[in-house]
Symmetry: C2
Subunit: 308 residues, 2 copies
């Protein structure tokens, strides 16, 4: 199976951003910092610290700049710290506080784009490309994404051509680290393989990332379909936190520890400290006082169960 | 993707057996009958009505014989009614009450086998083969399974050779409808593809079925891996009910309506009445008064959401 032919599997933890932004209660910065430091120490490749959005619009992310300052000061972890910026103002803030990798994106859904940014897809894509070029010119890693790439809660199906046109625009701007995000959770495994297959054919140096929401129970199946297609970077959230507040139906991401557990069953990414990931997820469930969507933090890893 | 190359996808609903047997409260027979009639009317191919086990051991299944009598009287649905029998006594009861397809199996895990049946794998397999031959001779459809085929909650890993030896014994007895069951939920997609690949190579007329528990969040991903390998029959439970009371860690099956929903997104099995499946799952959640593991019965189908 494809996992055996995929030497590179990068784990990008997005829970501190995509997870915490939808939690009603703002998580205290000390708690966030503790989770982030544990995630950094667990061997994950990239950690998304937060987003640079207006603090009144998303108060859960108001401390992103301060978190970057704390985590980059005297940093020894090799984990790359990413931040989500959706406009020039966000980019400016990110450049000022030590972001190592900028994640930027536009939605393939006209309606989702307008609700999220006040701009349509075309204008939003242009703005993102301009900001991404600035970030790259400043020596930062940059990942650009196509949101709602597999369907939209407002519009329904999104044409493959619309997605490929956005990817083409990114490639023409020299941006080759490209994520397709299933914002509404509409993707299915066959579609995932088709669409990533088409994207990966467009450029030999393209590096693809994926981001799936588990709204209809297909998140993990879609991750494996993406792996088979040749995607190298996988966005997940600890404990399965997540969702998007600006789509009509939203559900969590695939849980980081569930995906790492699945990979390790095939002896992939055994360098990742699964116990530590499980501990963070358990602490998150305790903090929020409810069952979260992850499985493995509840059951324990298989080896641990058998010997327990 | 494989789904496009798999003309046959059979849906085998096992919730009335594998789901209800682990519910603390016995579901009244009238409620079971209503769910079963709805499931039969929804276009699923096979419905597992219940199991023939000792009523004191599993009181939830004490009404299996009566359910078969009610459902087969004047039956017009083309759905095949299956029943689980794990010994000769069960077979006898099933033959007396109108079972159309017998599901029988033995565990590849010595420990699981002994806890479940009081016999080791070898003896249990022999007894099952003998009973299966009797059922086949009586003109019944028969499916034989290897339980704990992908790992065991007690023993940990189960060797592929152990599983293949059981399959070989089934094939030598002329039994070609063979299910591999992931009783403990240990399977991962790469393993699923490898093991089913090896099994399917053993006989050109073999027909494979799969049964996954979602203990570690991989149920749906494993279903798609099985489909890719060439498995034709998929066992699921309405609302994601399920588990096995005799393993150390147990969790639900993949939800029937979630799997049907995923298939229909690719225009497969559009003959199945998804609305009806969702209604049954919702009624089950209402009956038990708690959130069950399925996704789609909570969110609604994608088309319905977009237009809602």
């Amino acid at each position: 199976m494809s996992t055996r032919n995929s030497p590179r599997i990068l784990l990008h933890e997005v829970g501190p951003r995509d997870g915490l932004q939808v939690e009603k209660a703002v998580v205290p910065i000390e708690k966030k910092e503790a989770w982030l430091r544990d995630l950094m120490a667990s061997g994950l490749d990239i950690i998304q610290v937060g987003s640079f959005v207006h603090p009144e619009k998303v108060p859960q992310m108001a401390d992103t700049d301060e978190l970057f300052r704390r985590l980059t000061a005297g940093k020894v972890s090799s984990a790359i710290l990413s931040g989500l910026a959706l406009n020039e103002k966000g980019l400016e803030r990110g450049l000022a506080c030590g972001v190592e990798m900028f994640c930027m994106g536009a939605s393939a859904s006209e309606t989702h784009s307008r609700k999220n940014t006040g701009m349509g897809t075309e204008e939003s894509t242009k703005r993102i490309i301009s900001a991404a070029k600035t970030a790259a010119a400043a020596g930062k890693k940059v990942q650009v994404s196509v949101q709602s790439a597999f369907g939209c809660g407002f519009e329904g199906p999104i044409s493959e051509e619309r997605v490929l046109n956005m990817v083409r625009a990114y490639l023409e701007a020299g941006l080759r680290n490209i994520s397709l995000a299933d914002t509404a959770g509409h993707a299915n495994p066959a579609q995932v393989e088709r669409l990533f297959g088409a994207v990966l054919k467009m450029d030999k140096d393209i590096e693809c990332a994926c981001h799936f929401h588990n709204t209809y129970g297909l998140g993990m199946a879609n991750m494996f379909a993406a792996m088979r297609a040749g995607v190298v970077s996988f966005e997940t959230s600890f404990a399965g936190l997540g969702g998007c507040p600006f789509t009509k139906v939203a559900a969590g991401n695939v849980a980081t520890e569930d995906f790492a557990h699945a990979l390790q069953r095939e002896r992939l990414r055994v360098d990742v400290n699964l116990d530590r990931l499980i501990a963070v997820a358990r602490d998150a469930a305790a903090h929020f006082g409810r069952d979260l969507q992850g499985f493995v933090y509840k059951t324990g890893a298989i080896g641990k169960v058998a010997s327990g």
